[in-house]
């Protein structure tokens, strides 16, 4: 602590200094870590549908995702820390995205891009997962069908904002609570609840 002011009142005690300096150091370390994490996200693109076209446009020259530190698309989940699910997710792909998510090392985040990944979208049918948040945890939902590149960039900047607000001292931040060995991380009632149809389709019965 090289800083010293001459007329700033009484000297702090040793205990006060220790408390303040440790706080100061922790905060700065968090800030530095979060700064690094937020600005060097390596996305794992999981493109299944038309959202992937917009995602490619976002990565290409005009919108240039590299401006946000995403220079490198990581096609291996083990070298990625951001899963972008761009497009609808059928049940057949559910175990695959779950495995990709499990293979990604911590810390990791995920963006659900588009209406279908977030809610099932127009595909309220037997084949489609009604929102990937029933399969993996989601940090940012980007609405749109598909979202424009500006929308995805806005979602990414929101995620960066979220990362900057995280604390490396919080041990609960990265814990995924798996319910049991069935692979659920949400209780079944919750999955049923968030998979419920909304809007006009609530008037359709399950047997229709």
């Amino acid at each position: 602590m090289g800083l010293k002011t001459s007329d700033s009142g009484p000297e702090p005690t040793e205990a006060e200094l220790a408390a303040v300096s440790s706080n100061f150091l922790t905060t700065k370390l968090s800030w530095l870590t979060n700064w690094g994490r937020a600005n060097s996200l390596w996305p794992m693109p999981f493109g299944t549908a038309c959202c992937a076209i917009e995602f490619m446009a976002t990565a290409a020259g005009r919108f240039d995702l590299a401006r946000f530190g995403m220079e490198r698309m990581s096609f291996s989940p083990r070298q990625a820390d951001l899963l972008i699910c761009a497009g609808r997710l059928p049940f057949k792909l559910a175990p695959i995205i779950r495995r990709i998510w499990d293979q990604m090392p911590q810390p990791k985040w995920s963006i659900s891009m588009g209406a279908c990944a977030s809610t099932g979208g127009i595909f309220d049918n037997y084949a489609m997962v009604q929102g990937i948040d029933t399969i993996i945890p989601v940090d940012v939902y980007v609405p749109g069908c598909p979202p424009r590149p500006e929308g995805l960039i806005y979602g990414i900047t929101m995620l960066q904002k979220k990362i900057r607000g995280e604390s490396i001292a919080d041990p609960t931040l990265r814990v995924e609570h798996m319910m049991d060995d069935r692979g659920f991380f949400l209780p079944p009632e919750k999955i049923d609840e968030i998979s419920e149809p909304f809007g006009n389709s609530v008037h359709q019965t399950r047997s229709a």
């Binding site: 049940f91 057949k92 559910a94 997962v129 692979g183 659920f184 079944p188 229709a208």
Partner: protein
């Protein structure tokens, strides 16, 4: 019309489109096996009896005047009217004659949904028949590898394109999610399907030759 055609307006009209000459040839050759014929949107459709459908299709492929050497599609139709039969539909194409023909096999829903496989006639029918089996539950007798192709192998809810199948499936979303997460995608595919290199020895000789020399010949 820039190409000078004057009959553009009549194409697709049911009343005026001519019936394919294959239809009368089929009637002459097979008689009562041909149950019904129609022309719809310019396409000739022939309904044939299930018992001799394979024979009819083989004849259409091998007879010189017919020469339907290309199977465009195999699919099935179930109508909203529960009295009507389910139909398995074969869309045939003669590449040399530039002619099309649609063959339909009506299947009574009270009886077994079973037809003879045509994989022995057209190799391309393999996955098409698997899709019809997956979506409609029609079994193809003599198919070399009849299993689901779109839904995963342990899918337990039935055949999704049948009219008695609810749009959102039979199970709750939680149960569907549990079953989907419990599915092991690697368990139901052979090594040959997962890796083309493993399948190399199983490929036909001429295909191996082409692969080993590059599809377009030697590149030096």
């Amino acid at each position: 019309m820039t190409d000078g055609r004057t009959d553009g307006q009549t194409v697709g009209r049911t009343e005026t489109a001519p019936q394919s000459e294959s239809v009368s040839a089929l009637r002459d050759r097979f008689g009562p096996v041909v149950l019904r014929t129609a022309v719809s949107c310019g396409d000739s459709i022939v309904w044939v009896d299930r018992a001799r459908a394979h024979e009819v299709l083989a004849w259409l492929r091998d007879t010189p005047g017919q020469a339907f050497d290309y199977l465009t599609d195999v699919t099935a139709v179930e109508y909203r009217d529960p009295e009507r039969d389910l139909e398995v539909s074969y869309q045939l194409r003669s590449l040399a004659r530039r002619a099309d023909l649609r063959i339909k096999i009506p299947l009574s829903k009270s009886g077994p949904l079973e037809v003879d496989s045509v994989v022995d006639l057209w190799k391309g029918a393999d996955w098409l028949e698997r899709e019809v089996f997956d979506m409609f539950g029609v079994t193809f007798k003599g198919h070399p590898d009849l299993r689901r192709i779109l839904m995963w192998d342990t899918y337990a809810e039935g055949h999704p394109l049948r009219k008695d199948f609810p749009l959102r499936g039979h199970f709750t979303r939680a149960e569907q999610t549990r079953q989907a997460l419990a599915a092991n995608p690697e368990a139901h595919y052979s090594m040959e399907e997962l890796s083309i290199a493993e399948a190399y020895d199983e490929l036909p000789e001429e295909m191996r030759h082409r692969l080993s020399h590059g599809e377009r010949g030697h590149v030096l």
